[in-house]
Amino acid sequence: MVIELVKIKNRMKVDLKDLITRPLGEKFYKEVGKILKNASPNEVILMNFDGIEVADPSFLDEFLVKIIMDSKKTEKTFYVKLSNFSRLTSLNLKSVLDSYSRFKNERIAVATNQLVDNDRYCIGNVDNIEKSILNYLHVNKSGNAKEISDYIGYPLDETEKILKELDTVRLIRADESGQHHYFGI
């Protein structure tokens, strides 16, 4: 499912090219929440920022952080991926996610379809091994634990732990059949 943020912005009659303020973030969260009710289980939701110049930290906290947290709820999981966002939006989001992780002591990150600073396909804290896995799955679209273990040069059992963790954070998607197969978001 693709969510075009600019269309929601236009529906709400927001003239600005930027998404700013907490109250607007709350409105977006409610609006997008209605759309997400129609998502299939484990569906990838592409948040398209095309046409948006800057999303400020307050907006992102009220809107995107809540959507990312909702994606982890067990009753209906989904995956979020961001596209066509500006550099400033990614920097603002990184500052928000870093603060969230620090104060809540909980890992939070989001997949992206474009490389962001530090050459990775996600925003949030990932280490170099995780970054390699994400890059591998971005290029190859999918892979099993053995292939990925060979690629990163880690033992299979440790690789599987990392893959499970990345799935929990919603940066990759595990095969529901339990075949140790993983997909890029």
Partner: protein, 298 residues
């Protein structure tokens, strides 16, 4: 008109630190009599002092139902005040006029400024005003930020304006003002972002927290600039993110709140590390609310 209380203001409106001298006159301003400020000594007014003057005038109007009268305003200063819409605020009595031909041209001059604009303390109105300010800033940014070369600088300062202005309706419990201007003084080019209110101040906003948690006065102001703390939520992002952006552009932030102030200056050390330095002051003369000045020098 009752007894006139004429106060001669020294040339203290040209710099954020000199404005402290003006604050010392506040006691005299609020004593009995119709206040008249003689501005004949003023050579230059920068945006922070201009907004500080407005906050003082508004407080006087609220307390006495009377307006402060400004007299003997030097021609160039009055030209500037008119251009910045200072005279349209309706807060002061100003009888001096300037021939329409001698006013600053709006078309040319307007590219370097965002005029004084009130930010209401009501959420809906405030958001619509902040959006209008950002739209105006975006349309003029290539002139306002002409001396600062960075592809993303406009987007960075959209974040700064948005985050700081939101604090007014979120925390201050009062309306405030914003003004932006690129100016040259003593052969130095600067851009100043001023966002000020006369609300409850940062201490007031954090009143429910114990002093041990985040500190008080200047220590608390420093903490909101360096840590993602919030008086309303588990954590916040606004001023902390703003200070990181200002540091990135090697600018400075001055925050004054009630009787405390903090100056943050960014400097690149010999190892090319960009560091922040803080200067804290407590027990300075009372000025209600929170006044923020962000300055980048070219």
């Amino acid at each position: 008109m009752g007894k006139m209380n004429i106060i001669q203001i020294p040339d203290c409106l040209k710099d954020i630190y000199l404005f402290e001298k003006f604050i010392l006159f506040r006691k005299k301003i609020f004593t009995d009599g119709d206040c008249v400020l003689d501005l004949s000594n003023i050579t230059f007014i920068e945006p922070y002092s201009m907004v500080g003057l407005i906050l003082t005038g508004r407080e006087y109007l609220r307390n006495t139902s009377e307006k402060i009268t400004l007299i003997n305003i030097p021609f160039s200063v009055l030209q500037y005040l008119i251009r910045m819409n200072f005279t349209d605020t309706g807060i002061f009595n100003i009888e001096q006029k300037i021939d329409a031909k001698k006013l600053f041209k709006r078309s040319a001059f307007s590219k370097k400024v965002v005029e004084i604009t009130e930010i209401p303390n009501k959420e809906t109105e405030s958001i619509s005003r902040i959006s209008a300010i950002i739209a105006k800033f975006r349309s003029r940014a290539q002139f306002i930020l002409k001396y600062w070369l960075d592809d993303d600088i406009t987007d960075y300062f959209v974040t700064v304006i948005s985050e700081v202005c939101q604090n007014i309706f979120e925390h201050s419990l009062d309306s405030g003002y914003i003004s932006i201007q690129t100016y040259e003084y003593n052969n130095e080019k600067s851009v100043g972002f001023v966002i000020s209110d006369s609300g409850i101040g940062i201490d007031g906003s954090f009143e429910k927290y114990s002093k041990n948690q985040y500190g008080t006065g200047a220590e608390l102001i420093k903490n909101v600039l360096t840590e993602p703390i919030s008086s309303k939520r588990d954590f916040g992002y606004g001023l902390c993110r703003v200070s990181n952006i200002v540091q990135q552009f090697k600018g400075s932030i001055f925050i004054r709140s009630n009787t405390s102030s903090v100056t943050m200056i960014s400097r690149t050390d010999p190892d090319k590390k960009n560091e922040k330095f803080f200067f804290l002051k407590n027990n300075i003369p009372e000025f209600n609310g929170t006044q923020i000045s962000i300055i980048l020098k070219a």
